[in-house]
């Protein structure tokens, strides 16, 4: 029997012949913390008595969730993280550099390695063919110290995507559709493995968007095979040498195969208060929106800002709808400035936030008022997520977000394209 991508990568990073269901000890190629999970991880590390860290160049601390700090407490947490980096030799990505998952993609993740992040959206790097998964502070702390973790080798679902997106339909619509189909726990403990003609045609930005949300169906990881698109992306980041050709064996065993025809999809939206609560955008047309947020590790990349800028060019946001933009990294911001997208977005009435997580986690920079609805390009809409349990969050593509900002109501972007 052949191997899935997950089984191949975990075999290569352990001393086991990894098959679904096995418990293995895996070598961890990259481990990272962010400012919400890092302080607890460092406390646990201290408690463990392990003083050395296994590979300081591959242990990264990101200040992104509460950055710049909105409070004294969080500013002090940032000091703790910076001091640890200085003492241990771990790397630090400070305030304004961007969201951890975007920076991991740009500068750190290598195809074929095991990546652990103390953040559930660490699955994003699966788009580069890394077995990337989120864990809690203690697991990642121990991985930083020992360079190892224990893992159960997951069963895999193959997600076979054919066809091409029609106008106004994007990777975000596809992944929301998939999560609606699987349910919020439909892939718990599983690896989602993407394949098919449409996947081969996808840009890296599209792959990151899809891999990022694998965890919203409960998955442990969301893996893409590597190809010329992967190689070109790594070359563009000066990391071409880390390319590794990876694909599953043709006779690999999949627990489920799900087929999706990309050409049959329409703009899709997730309704409050769970990500799998899916509808078509046109079915919710007319719902008033107080705030639109374009950004995050799901949809804060250059391609996303390009789509938003194309829709908003020469137009204004609705006077009763706030429009917030947070580029996923400082490189994305610089490129968006050069391309003129930022100028366009600001002229349309957008507020530019620093590269980072922005209001996604409810910490700062755009908490919602009671009864307000937000259309966000993020990945979660749980009750209270954006700082207020009395508010409502809808999730959609950057195109749906931009169209809705113009009209002030949930709007199918195809109407404005």
């Amino acid at each position: 029997m052949g191997k899935t991508l997950a089984e191949k990568i975990l075999t290569d990073n352990s001393s086991s012949d990894a098959h679904a269901g096995d418990i293995i000890i895996a070598r961890v190629g990259l481990a990272f913390l962010q400012d919400g999970t890092g302080p607890l991880a460092l406390r646990q590390l201290k408690e463990s008595g392990l003083e050395q860290i296994a590979n300081p160049k591959r242990a990264i601390l990101f200040l992104d969730h509460a950055a710049p700090s909105p409070s004294r407490e969080l500013a002090n947490d940032h000091i703790t993280l910076r001091q640890f980096a200085e003492k241990s030799g771990a790397q630090i990505c400070d305030v304004g550099e961007g969201v951890c998952h975007q920076l991991v993609a740009e500068s750190y993740a290598n195809p074929g390695e095991v990546i652990l992040g103390a953040d559930s959206h660490s699955v994003t790097a699966g788009a580069l063919g890394a077995f990337a998964t989120g864990m809690g502070s203690t697991d990642v702390a121990i991985a930083i110290a020992l360079g190892k973790t224990w893992l159960r080798v997951p069963e895999s679902f193959r997600i076979e995507v054919s066809g091409r997106f029609t106008k106004g339909v994007f990777a975000k619509d596809l992944v929301l559709h998939l999560i609606g189909k699987l349910g919020a726990d439909g892939a718990t403990y599983k690896s989602l493995e993407f394949s098919g003609e449409a996947v081969g045609n996808m840009s890296m930005a599209e792959r990151f968007t899809i891999a990022n949300m694998a965890v919203e169906a409960g998955a442990k990881t969301g893996l893409f095979p590597t190809d010329a698109t992967t190689q070109t992306y790594l070359d563009s980041r000066g990391r071409g040498a880390s390319f590794l050709a990876l694909s599953p064996d043709p006779d690999a065993d999949y627990e489920r195969v799900i087929t999706i025809d990309a050409s049959s999809l329409e703009p899709t939206i997730s309704k409050p208060h769970s990500v799998d609560n899916i509808a078509l955008v046109r079915e919710l047309a007319g719902t008033k929106i107080a705030q639109v947020f374009i950004g995050t590790c799901t949809n804060g990349r250059l391609d996303d800002l390009a789509v938003a800028a194309a829709l908003l060019k020469g137009k204004s946001r609705h006077p009763k709808t706030r429009l917030l933009i947070a580029p996923a990294s400082s490189d994305v911001l610089k490129e968006a400035i050069s391309a003129g997208y930022i100028q366009t977005l600001i002229e349309s009435g957008a507020v530019l936030l620093p590269p980072g997580c922005g209001p996604c986690v409810g910490v700062h920079q755009g908490a919602l008022g009671d009864g307000e609805a937000c259309l966000s390009t993020a990945n979660r809409n749980f009750k209270g997520r954006m700082g207020n349990p009395e508010a409502f969050i809808y999730l959609g593509s950057p195109a749906t977000a931009a169209a809705s900002a113009i009209v002030g109501e949930i709007t199918d972007p195809r109407e404005l394209m």
């Binding site: 418990i23 000890i25 919400g36 999970t37 302080p39 607890l40 646990q44 408690e47 463990s48 008595g49 392990l50 969730h65 509460a66 909105p70 409070s71 407490e73 969080l74 002090n76 947490d77 703790t80 992040g117 103390a118 953040d119 559930s120 660490s122 989120g134 864990m135 809690g136 502070s137 203690t138 697991d139 121990i142 020992l146 190892k148 973790t149 224990w150 159960r152 919020a184 726990d185 718990t188 403990y189 409960g218 442990k220 769970s274 986690v361 409810g362 910490v363 908490a367 979660r380 749980f382 009750k383 209270g384 997520r385 954006m386 700082g387 207020n388 349990p389």
Partner: protein, 162 residues
Amino acid sequence: MLRGKAFKFGDNISTDHICPGRYFHLRSNLPELAKHTLEDVEPGFCTMINPGDFVVAGLNFGLGSSREHAAVVIKMAGVAAVLAKSAARIFYRNAVNVGLPILICDTDKINNGDELEIDLTNSIVKNLTSGTELPVGKFPDVMLSILEEGGLIPYIKKHGGF
């Protein structure tokens, strides 16, 4: 042997419900953070439970963010164990790592306020109110060893590694 009352919740209780993001600034002040445990689902939860009671939930308990604080604050609030029909992957691992027992069983057979008795060593849950015994899903060996040591840190301190 653990004995306490069931505090019943529904399906899909996320880590945002358990430990809301708006208290992000309290994450290095765990006793304060713990005062807000589950407050968006059950306001005043922390004042309503007695130490040793149980959180009893439906499907997919603890979905969402990796914040281990969610498992920590449930434990600090005095909850002796979580029982659920199923649990999200990261939360399940976090609970074991911080020494919070999490048991997978058919929680439809437990009502709010039922008196429960749990034998962790032998994985037995008894509903004393209804007089029934519930089968419990088994932990993988590695998790059982971690739980028996009281969490991942004591486990690593004792064994030096995996």
